[in-house]
Symmetry: C2
Subunit: 159 residues, 2 copies
Amino acid sequence: MHHAEHTVTVDAPVDLVWEVLVDVEGYPAIFPPTQGVEILQSRPGQQIVRLDVEVNGEIVSWTSQRDIDAERRVIAYRQLETAPIVQHMAGDWRAFPFGPDRTQLVLTHDFAARVPPGGQLDLEQADRMLLAAVERNSTADIEAVKGEAERRVGVAVAS
Amino acid sequence: MHHAEHTVTVDAPVDLVWEVLVDVEGYPAIFPPTQGVEILQSRPGQQIVRLDVEVNGEIVSWTSQRDIDAERRVIAYRQLETAPIVQHMAGDWRAFPFGPDRTQLVLTHDFAARVPPGGQLDLEQADRMLLAAVERNSTADIEAVKGEAERRVGVAVAS
């Protein structure tokens, strides 16, 4: 099992960052590879969603449970049905207030690869691909949330 | 100018992590490359320190100003006299409480390289070396603080 943590400072108040994080239906607008989101179940503090994401030119789908702790501003996600090379994928989005106008945004991953059907990859290759994808996507995802939250600060200031 | 942020979750309360961060004279015991620390000036909220650090088998020294904000638990450091390939080096240590027993530890760097005396490296090579060193040292440094803070939790529980 691998563990990874990525972080970025966002020039936006924590409530604005949180607003971006909880709005899963807004993800296709801010994460370019995300093509579609369907909320399968929703109750206070928890969502089950299906995400359709473009990976290497193909649409891959998975189902995620999102446990939403608004007080601590933590969303713990866990893939219930995983993508082809994924054995396990879970982690947190965390938003920490850093003064009144800034936020420390953190994204963590706990993950393990598996051999995909078809016999084209062995476990070591799948593991290497998944490590690289998590590294690449983490940076893209935290930058996307940062960009959207900072854009909303601009809109709020201008209106 | 480059900007980098690294983070790790520490299984220790934020006050314990903060204790490790502010104790600059304890750095040689927790950061193996740090051979010596001398506090050149100390006043409330600020220290000027000289650090002797082993880099590629050689002892390199620099002087850092540390602005200590105990309320926000942020130490902003800035090299006053830089190491040979460093034009600019500054950043923060930040410790965020993540529940009562955990801490989100963040280390940031803002840095730029310069051509060192001697003509053995051009700016691009110096830049590449410095990027690699920051990446490597950031991971080592946050893991060292994590290790020491978690060791102290163990000691506190055992005593």
